[in-house]
């Protein structure tokens, strides 16, 4: 009976009452415990990786400066594209607005992550969730102040993806456990080189084109069935994720 209640709620993009109450009760001390353990973790990492962190900080400052040069220009161009799309009667491109969020729970066996933002912040099911390195999953179910993310490692995860070579090759990428996705392509004629980037193809109402997913690490051709399987190694190490962005 509980399973049926859960399944019905999930199909509606919501969280059932039992799960919601458990998470609310656990949040009371779970969030402070998480903040303290994160602080301890940061402190110990700071001691052992001080040199590396300082170098990383410098690199990020340089990237931020470079980014600020282009930000205004990109905004102008995006605005122009939206105006042109509106003139042509096309719907707006999804993923224009970003909501930052903190991961308050990570459950690798369930391929799920809980974020501290929900419908009150405009989060809806199927919105993409990413870090600076790339896509980590899509929003699965939403409450007022929390949402569950289905991670790219989940066997139930599917997204339109493309290998970005000279000619982009598009297909469907599916989660396959913790460290890899499988991208199925129907075009066997174009060569694929290892380490080529794999990004979202944009054939979705909520997921825009070009979000980085990972890189191609292995290619298998099944000529009998006319299918090419590309193993994709994700850019993001899910266990290290703390802060994310949800694209609205």
């Amino acid at each position: 009976m509980l399973g049926r209640v859960q399944t019905n709620a999930r199909n509606a993009g919501q969280v059932d009452a039992v799960t919601s109450n458990i998470q609310t009760a656990s949040d009371l001390i779970g969030r402070p415990v998480g903040a303290v353990s994160q602080g301890i973790n940061d402190f110990t990492q700071g001691i052992f990786r001080a040199g590396g962190l300082r170098a990383e900080n410098e690199r990020l400052r340089a990237q931020e400066q470079a980014w600020s040069l282009y930000e205004a220009r990109i905004r102008d161009m995006e605005s122009e594209i939206e105006q042109l799309r509106a003139l042509m009667g096309l719907p707006p491109i999804p993923g224009r607005e970003a909501v930052t969020a903190v991961a308050i729970g990570y459950y690798p066996h369930e391929h799920r992550m809980t974020l501290g933002v929900g419908s009150d912040q405009g989060i809806r099911p199927d919105q993409p969730v990413l870090t600076a390195a790339g896509l980590i999953g899509v929003v699965h179910s939403v409450e007022a102040q929390r949402c569950q993310v289905r991670l790219i490692s989940s066997p139930q995860f599917q997204v339109g993806a493309a290998v970005m070579g000279e000619v982009p090759l598009e297909g469907i990428a599916k989660g396959e456990g913790r460290d890899v996705l499988i991208l199925q392509l129907l075009d066997l004629s174009q060569p694929i080189e290892l380490d080529q980037p794999v990004v979202t193809s944009g054939y979705s109402e909520r997921i825009p084109r070009g979000l980085p997913i990972g890189k191609a690490v292995q290619v298998e051709d099944d000529e009998q069935f006319g299918i090419r399987r590309v193993r994709v190694f994700p850019h993001v190490r899910l266990s290290n994720v703390r802060s994310v962005v949800v694209l609205k």
Binding site: G3, I22, A25, G30, V33, V36, P108, P155, R178
Partner: protein, 156 residues
């Protein structure tokens, strides 16, 4: 008193599971605080009490993970029952006995769960189970110590 101690331990376990478990991972193995709490609690609450404690620990774990609770509840209830059954023969809670007890029960709980909800990569799941079991054995020792000084002194 016994009820409140069980509630406090399970609630604390749930909070640690949510907030600290993955941040305390060593070599990809994170502790399972709720499963680690079931074994010592079951020792003090008898077979049916152990099954009930296990059931609610599973419910909490499934709810936190946003997963189907049925598999978690069923596997943890069986672990709670077996923990109490096997634990009834333990006369004195020596640290090493407790550690082995929790290690074995963690392996049992995760293997039962594996059959009820098969993971994508069974090999890596079983490998992680060994690490989780050892981790749980260590973190359960303070719970055993707490219960030895409180609950097990209470008359049934």
């Amino acid at each position: 008193m016994r009820f409140w101690i069980a509630l406090a331990v399970l609630w604390g376990g749930a909070a640690l599971q949510q907030g600290a478990s993955e941040r305390l991972a060593v070599l990809g193995c994170a502790p399972d605080f709720l499963l680690a709490a079931v074994a010592p609690l079951a020792l003090s609450y008898g077979r049916s009490g152990g099954a009930v404690v296990g059931f609610f620990a599973g419910l909490l774990h499934g709810g936190l993970a946003g997963a189907n609770m049925a598999q978690y509840s069923a596997s943890r209830a069986i672990v709670g029952f077996i923990a109490a059954w096997t634990g009834s023969s333990i006369e004195k809670l020596e640290p090493m006995t407790c550690l082995i007890h929790v290690v074995c029960l963690t392996v049992l709980g995760r293997v039962l769960f594996m059959f009820m909800a098969p993971p994508a990569q069974i090999g890596s799941y079983l490998l992680a189970t060994i690490g989780v079991a050892v981790y749980n054995g260590v973190i359960a020792l303070p719970i055993y110590a707490l219960l030895r000084k409180t609950v097990r002194k209470d008359p049934l």
